[in-house]
Assembly symmetry: D2
Homo-oligomer: 240 residues x 4
């Protein structure tokens, strides 16, 4: 684990963008990236769009979403891929052939598809205040899981409902790459910004590996990079 | 995880030897291997000695022990390195410059030494019927540990005492590479032979990742190879 | 370049077999090997067949021939693939799905096919007394060539005619991976046995890089292993 | 070989900077880069300085110069390292421990030093209108050379004299990493900007591999990236 301390959100966004660009340039052959939606990457995608849009030298880069909350009716694409299109794929003009959608139908195939495409070169992950990453929330998946379907109880439905304008679209399940799927990537990049992440980052970096903090297992990966801004790092033991 | 089923101990020994030879030939620059003592590797070392002895094209291969039970008096080298010398280093005529001893004095330096030497290319591990590997026995280390010292309570002293002709030499502690040290290796090779390992191998391969079975964490590694003979595999679910 | 000096043909065959087995075990995902026919590898294939036959843990290994002399009539497979079947594929019971034939029809596709399959992990090459490797004979290809078709003049037809019982089957052309195709492999393994190779091996190892000795370009590769027996090495400068 | 066409010098500079940052982030352990002085990289170093200065997460990056023209008196450091300090090391506040100087005294040690440090991850190269790279000018080194000393005849002295305010400092020799040293790097990055490079880039990309164009040998490397701006690419065959 390497911890990169940046001074603010802008530097964090820049470092994350540079790291992904580095992966894209690293090989001439197909490069496979799994990337995150959410709020943390907004600044990074802004920078990335400027560098990637209309640049045919990135045609070898392929993208995967690592979780999905489908619409119950199935009338439109899921929440995660929709967010990724808005944040990155559409403004960066990424072609459809480079986008590999995980959804509620094909999740059992996700790990095989990725393996056959040569494996993930990198996966960019956010972390929740509860220690979740992808759809691996406390009590939903176990360390042993590959890509899987998670049934939503009422509490979970309440939690994911805000993603849907029409609450009736809240699904009974979501899908996510599991801990073992994620650990198969060659490079894990986890980033966290802001004071609201300070407590979990202290627990993540300094604490035990426990299924109460699902992300803690990622510390076992031989190539994990953690990017923090000052606010997210403020509770860390200064001695280290 | 790739599981290699061999028909008997001889094939298991051959496959393990071929795999280590493969690592040795893989790079012209320094190759770093951490290897195991014990009974499982006896057949493998016999084969390996024949291939390695007096072959100067293996001068780039360096060896590490991953745990050590020191003699209390400190009058002689520890149990593990002594066994490795007898099983392999001496009959294969490995030079001292290629042997990097972990002992009760230098353990805090082990992870840094290995990182500075370029990291471990492979680590060959046995597994105990209790799910231990290296010196990571249930209730001794946690998943979060790097190389560490383990204090021996009376039960542990009883357990390790048979290693010492003079029981007064039984030490108050031993040292071991911890889970995170092991997970930093580029290739984990775990092998198990015989019916007495059948139960733990079923739990390891098919069961959960839990600190009750310390080795179970190794399943999270992106490049783990498991070698079994038929007897050790006899309880595995045939469908898989 | 690493030069491995073995004492005789048997050790050379063993080392080459171990090196290929090492490549096969190195990755769990698809492994791609291009291998040579001819007389040098006979001993190696004998050893390899014993280790590979009926071992399903090698199902991830795929094989390519790197040159081909087609039958003029097209009534049967070419000379190289025929030899490889006899020497290795048939006795080792390699399945058809693992054999990727280069022939007079598909040669323009060879480099793209290999790139899309992830590139060659290793290529095992012999060397001729005239410094040729694959079908890269002096004055036939240039360093700049990828896989290509070589038209045969009368001298060349005379040279290749002995491969055909019915001389009328001698073709007007052959195909070969070119220097740049070969240099794209991750590991080049070149072996030479016997006194008849001593002179070319001295020129290869100690001499200049020149298109008069086509194989000399291989010295520019960052990962080239040369395996020699004592007879092939007898003219080498002992000081080095 | 991958050819990246950029629209102008600014994009070329940005892509080169991103590629080097990508190498720096690619590994947590020591990263070794050999970088070029001259005029082409001026824009790139400006961008790089802004990203690297005072960023301790780049402490693992080590730098090498690949050629040197020493002052005859030896009273000050050579021309290349002086330029690199001015362009990059000083404004980016790179520490002395990260700078590994090649000079007229230690050149015989350069290849061994680099190998022992783990090899070069990348080498960034310019190209001269005469096809030279590093100090490999036509008729000075041969493809077979490692790091070497080149004696300067009168014509060469005339050529390098403008580097010295006091012409009496023009040396009788210079040193350079040779073709085989350069080919040992894991990634070759060659960039060229401006119309004055258009002719050589056409010859480099479309022409033969010949010692009349020393850089042409670099096309044999399995991982070569070429970055051009529109002016440098203007003579390229548009069909390709």
């Amino acid at each position: 684990m390497k911890v990169i301390l940046t001074k603010d959100y802008d530097e964090l966004s820049k470092v994350a963008a540079q790291m992904l660009l580095g992966e894209m340039f690293q090989r001439h052959e197909r490069v496979n990236l799994a990337i995150t939606a959410g709020t943390t990457p907004i600044g990074m995608y802004e920078k990335l769009v400027a560098e990637v849009r209309d640049k045919d030298y990135f045609d070898n880069v392929h993208y995967y979403n690592f979780d999905e909350i489908p619409y119950k009716s199935g009338r439109r694409e899921g929440v995660t891929i929709g967010d990724l299109r808005e944040l990155y794929f559409t403004p960066a003009a990424i072609s459809d052939e480079q986008i590999h959608v995980l959804d509620g139908e094909n999740y059992e195939d996700q790990d095989r598809r990725i393996a056959e495409a040569g494996g993930l070169d990198a996966i960019l992950l956010g972390i929740g205040a509860d220690g979740h990453y992808c759809g691996n929330l406390p009590s939903t998946t176990s360390f042993n899981d590959f890509t899987t379907k998670v049934d939503c109880d009422d509490a979970m439905k309440e939690r994911i409902a805000p993603h849907f304008e029409d609450r009736a679209e809240t699904p009974d399940f979501y899908v996510t790459m599991g801990p073992r799927s994620v650990m198969n990537a060659r490079h894990l990049i986890l980033f966290a910004s802001g004071e609201k992440k300070a407590k979990i980052m202290k627990a993540f970096i300094e604490g035990a590996i426990t299924d109460e903090i699902p992300a803690s297992i990622l510390k076992m990966h031989p190539h994990l990079t953690v990017i923090l801004d000052e606010a997210a790092a403020k509770l860390l033991d200064k001695e280290k």
